[in-house]
C-alpha cells in the first residue's frame, strides 16, 4: 500500500473511534484502571477500547497481504509479517482528559518506512472531542479538515502550549519560556498540541518531560509539513531518534526557524 492508501486507512480508523465514542464508553466506565500498558502508563478502558478498534482494522489489512510492525501504547510491539514498515499508535493521547471528560484527547497514528523518526511518511491525528482531523504525507504538506495549513512566519512567541506530566519537576525548566509568552495553554495531549501548532493556533509547544515517540511522531511530521520545526528542548534534531515504547527526550516545536532559535536561547538561559 502507498502513503495515500495508508492515510485513508488512518482516516477510517479515526472516524470510527470518533463515531463510536459517545456510546462506546460513558465517563463513569472510563475511570477504573485495567493495569499498566506496555509503555508503563496506567491503561484505562478507553485506551484499550480504542486500541482494539485500531488493531482490528490493521489485522484485516494484514490478512489482505500487508506486512508491518505495530508499536502501540497498550499492547507494545506486535509483528504482522516481515517488513521494515512500522505503525506507531497512540490509541488515546490525553487519557486523563478522556477519563475525566476534559475536552482534549486524540488518536495519533504514524507510518514509518524504518525505525527512526526521519522515516515517518504518513501522519494522522484526530481530536476526539471536536472531530478536527489533521494529517500529512511527507513532501505533500499538512492538512486540517481537508484544508492545507501552514505555520506563521512571525518570530514572536504569542501562544505557548506546554505539557507537564509532573508539574513540580516539569514546569520549572520551561518557566522562562512560559513567562515570555503572550498567552500559555496546556491541553493535556501532545499530539493535539503539535497538530494545533501546525494549524497556527499556537506558535510554540514545549514539554517539560521526556515524551514517547508514539505521542509525537505523527504530530511532528504534521508540524514539519506545515513549515514548523521540531527538535529536542535544546534544539538538537530528532531525526535519528529510534521509535519505540521508551521515553525519549523533552521536545520543542515552533512555527519557524527564527522563532525556534530565539526560544532555544530563552530555554538555555534557564
Amino acid at each position: 500500500m502507498n502513503g495515500e492508501e495508508w492515510l485513508d486507512v488512518f482516516k477510517k480508523i479515526g472516524k470510527e473511534i470518533h463515531r463510536e465514542l459517545p456510546e462506546g464508553l460513558n465517563i463513569a466506565s472510563r475511570q477504573i484502571p485495567l493495569g499498566r500498558g506496555a509503555a508503563g502508563d496506567k491503561t484505562y478502558p478507553i485506551d484499550k477500547w480504542a486500541e482494539n478498534i485500531i488493531i482490528s482494522v490493521l489485522e484485516n489489512i494484514h490478512r489482505k497481504g500487508e506486512a508491518f510492525t505495530v508499536i502501540s501504547e497498550e499492547i507494545g510491539t506486535r509483528t504482522f509479517g516481515e517488513s521494515k514498515v512500522i505503525i506507531l499508535v497512540d490509541p488515546i493521547d490525553g487519557s486523563n482528559n478522556a477519563k475525566s471528560g476534559f475536552p482534549g484527547f486524540s488518536t495519533s497514528l504514524a507510518l514509518l518506512n524504518g525505525n527512526t523518526l526521519s522515516d515517518t511518511v504518513v501522519a494522522y491525528v484526530i481530536n476526539l472531542t471536536t472531530g478536527d482531523t489533521f494529517w500529512a504525507l511527507r513532501g505533500s504538506g499538512a492538512y486540517k479538515n481537508g484544508i492545507q495549513i501552514r505555520t506563521t512566519p512571525s518570530a514572536d512567541a504569542t501562544i505557548v502550549a506546554f505539557e507537564a506530566s509532573r508539574p513540580k519537576r516539569d514546569i520549572s525548566p520551561i518557566l522562562p519560556l512560559l513567562n515570555s509568552a503572550k498567552r500559555v495553554r496546556c491541553l493535556g495531549s501532545t499530539a493535539l498540541d503539535l497538530a494545533y501548532l501546525a494549524a497556527d493556533a499556537v506558535s510554540v509547544f514545549v514539554t517539560g518531560m521526556s515524551s514517547r515517540t508514539f505521542d509525537y511522531a505523527a504530530g511532528m511530521l504534521i508540524v514539519q509539513e506545515a513549515g514548523g520545526i521540531v527538535t529536542d528542548i535544546t534544539g538538537n534534531t530528532l531525526d535519528h531518534v529510534m521509535v519505540g515504547l521508551d521515553r525519549t527526550v523533552p521536545i520543542l516545536a515552533t512555527a519557524n526557524r527564527n522563532l525556534h532559535a530565539s526560544v532555544v536561547k530563552i530555554l538555555k538561559n534557564q
Copy 2:
C-alpha cells in the same frame, strides 16, 4: 419570565451560535480586531458576531414585554426597560482561541435578580468547540448535556486548571499550587474551566489575574450548584461583588470545602 423560561432562551441562543459558527466566520476573517469593547479587550469579528445574535434574541424578548439590563463584553451596559433583572453576557469567552482555532471557547450567559453575584439565578455556558452545554438554576442543581453533575468529594488537588492573561505576572503567584498538582491544564476560557470543574473534569481552578464578572458569574453558579466552592484567591466570598464590566479579583474554585481550605493554604504560603 421565570428561571426555566430564561434558561430555555439561553439554550436557544447557545444552539444558534454553535450551529451558525462554521459558516458564520472562517478562521482568516476572525483575525482582524475591530477596536476595543466596552470592557477594554480588543473586539474581534467573532465577538461582535456572537453578541449580535444574543442581542437580537434579547430585543425580541423585550418587545414581548420583558424588562432587563444587559451587561455584555462588547456593547457594555444596555437597558431594555426598567427592571432590577441583569443579564451578564460574554459572547465569546476565549476570543484568542476562537480567532486562532485553538479548541476552547464558549458563550457564557447569566441572569441575576439584582446587581451582586449572590443574585445569580440562571447560568448557561456552551463549549462552542465541542457543543457541550452546562447550566444551572439556583437551588436546582447543575447539568451537563442534560445530565446532573456533581463535583468530587475528594480533598486531593488532582487536575488544576488555571488562567494567566499575562503569564509573567500571573503564573508566579499561583506556581506553588501548580507545583502541587498531579496535572495542570490551561484552556483559555474561564467560563469553560468553571463548567468542567462542575462536571468533575478538574478539581481546582485558579486565575492569576483579576477576572470580570461576565467571565465567571455563570460558571460560578454552575460550580456552586454542582457542590463546589468559588471565592476570591484568598478564600473570601464573592457574594457581594457588584457585577459590571470592570475587572474584580482573581478567583479560586474547587470541588469541595476541604479541598478549598487546603488550596487556600498553599496559595497563602506563597
